[in-house]
Symmetry: C2
Subunit: 322 residues, 2 copies
């Protein structure tokens, strides 16, 4: 299988300039001296998550006459808004298929970005999107299972290597695996001495099981939906799994309580709003020190689209001192 290369990622970065926030590394003065921590705050992207990088790269790579016929995506999460936003930046039409049980807030946010939204039953989402793309002559932008999407997410790794060339450990959340695949390729190419660890919720640790087994192990959806990290309920594809086997040094899992308390700590001490999925990498730093090498560490905060009621609840249980 053809894997994404560092050249693909460099090309993605050139396409992305101006359309995507070039996030800084945020130093954490409260981290351990022998393993100083920096956060990569992708919650600062226009739609509050890293997904806009892959969406933008996939759109930008389309031939102008293809792009002009518009794009389609199916998602109830950050990918919906990422494609809607990237399409708006590129002045093309986006149609997003969302399941009819998704929160009204997410539907409204996607519409506010100028996308047309189709609400359908969850189990028809993908089929409707495929049909729509065919009927419209539009291009389907997948959330992770595409080399251009992986290369787009990989620009995060490129930026980490630029800003902290002596990084020793990079912690990345894993869901469908596009983010970790792209970042892993970039880090292994540019900082070969650094270790890249994936992080999953204990309640959705299918990728850990897959890596142990050496082949894709599927967890029933009913199990994966239990985690509060709603962005981490997808599973790797053959394409992303092939990357993960190549670039990951290991996988760590974190508990729901650890995810919650890390959301609170990030608000109190790093002054950023993270969603549960965005907090798993810093949670692994905080709670899995014994499974990690020492040295300069980067934890990717993948997004900040947290349910407001949940955020308030978590803050109430977070002590003032963090």
């Amino acid at each position: 299988m053809q894997l994404v290369t560092i050249e693909d990622i460099r090309a993605a970065a050139r396409r992305m300039s101006g359309a995507v926030v070039r996030t800084p590394l945020v130093p954490c003065v409260w981290s351990d001296d022998d393993r100083p921590l920096w956060l990569k705050p992708e919650n600062l992207q226009a739609i509050g998550a890293f997904k806009v990088r892959g969406a933008h790269n996939a759109l930008a790579k389309l031939a102008p006459e293809v792009r002009a016929r518009g794009v389609v995506a199916y998602s109830s999460g950050n990918h919906a808004q990422a494609v809607a936003y990237a399409a708006r930046v590129a002045s093309v039409t986006a149609t997003i298929v969302i399941d009819d049980t998704a929160p009204g807030l997410k539907v409204a946010a996607t519409r506010a970005l100028g996308a047309e939204v189709r609400l359908v039953p969850l189990d028809q989402r993908e089929a409707v999107a495929v049909e729509l793309a065919r009927d419209l002559g539009a291009t389907l932008i997948p959330p992770f299972n595409h080399p251009d999407v992986i290369a787009g997410q990989g620009t995060i790794g490129l930026e980490i290597a630029e800003d902290l060339p002596d990084v020793a450990v990079v912690l990345v959340p894993i869901s469908g695996g596009g983010l970790a695949s792209g970042i892993g390729v970039a880090i292994k190419a540019l900082c070969p001495g650094a270790a890249v660890f994936g992080v999953e919720p204990e309640l959705a640790a299918d990728t850990r099981d897959s890596l142990r087994a050496g082949e894709l192990v599927r967890w029933p959806a009913a199990q994966r939906v239990r985690t509060s990290a709603d962005g981490l309920r997808a599973e790797p594809s053959e394409l992303t799994f092939a990357h993960l086997r190549e670039v990951l040094d290991g996988i760590l899992t974190v508990s729901e309580a650890e995810i919650r308390s890390t959301v609170g700590l990030l608000a109190r001490r790093a002054r950023i709003v993270a969603e549960p999925s965005g907090a798993v990498a810093p949670a692994a730093y905080l709670h899995r020190a014994d499974e990690l090498p020492a040295g300069p560490t980067v934890a990717v905060v993948s997004g900040g689209n947290i349910d407001p009621v949940l955020f308030d609840e978590i803050l109430r249980e977070t002590p003032a001192t963090g």
Copy 2:
């Protein structure tokens, strides 16, 4: 009076590389079409506020043998931690004089950065700091009344001009005026068509009165302390006032209710934690549109060190839709 120049600010930027976070501009998809808004999130600095820029520049400019004798500052706010942090980065000794009524949390945070803390009654703070500096042969780093501090804060304006050369409006909070002085000098030099507005709380609008009168008008401290924006209770010096008269196109004021609701909106929709002082510039964007020109607008979020209890309280009164 000799004003800070764009060359001073460029030199400060060269000194600062690596020691200070190069913050991005964060696009706000919810802003008005004819005046798109970007935030400059200085809450992402290591100590949660822009103050580290000026402190770092002032330290870096000292001759090595002078710097080796250490630095002294007096502050109960972000300047204390900024000097402590900059001193730690430069491996020099910092002694910070804090009033004995300051919250224990702030004292602990300053000590955690490696500074020695002296607690004294509020009215003796400055005198003790001056005496200490003399006894130790150390250098006093003032919070705003110094060209090197102003030039350091001005690097924010340099970055805004680099990232958004066609910026039309820049909104900056005003307290002692060092931040607005530095940013104003940079913007007027690099984006001469852009308007720079200072923003004050209605309850501490002494600089508005001073600009109207053409000379420094003092508000009694008892009045200035009423605002929840505790970082905006200082007054300009002759030096910063001379800059502000030169570079500001106007001053806007915002109410306490507007400041509070903006802290909530920034958490909900921009996914950043701002302190009340850090929210006044976006509050002016939101609530003073009729007093502002149209066009691309940047609001500086100066810091994120909000009292946790206040933050939780504000979130409870902020609707889920922001």
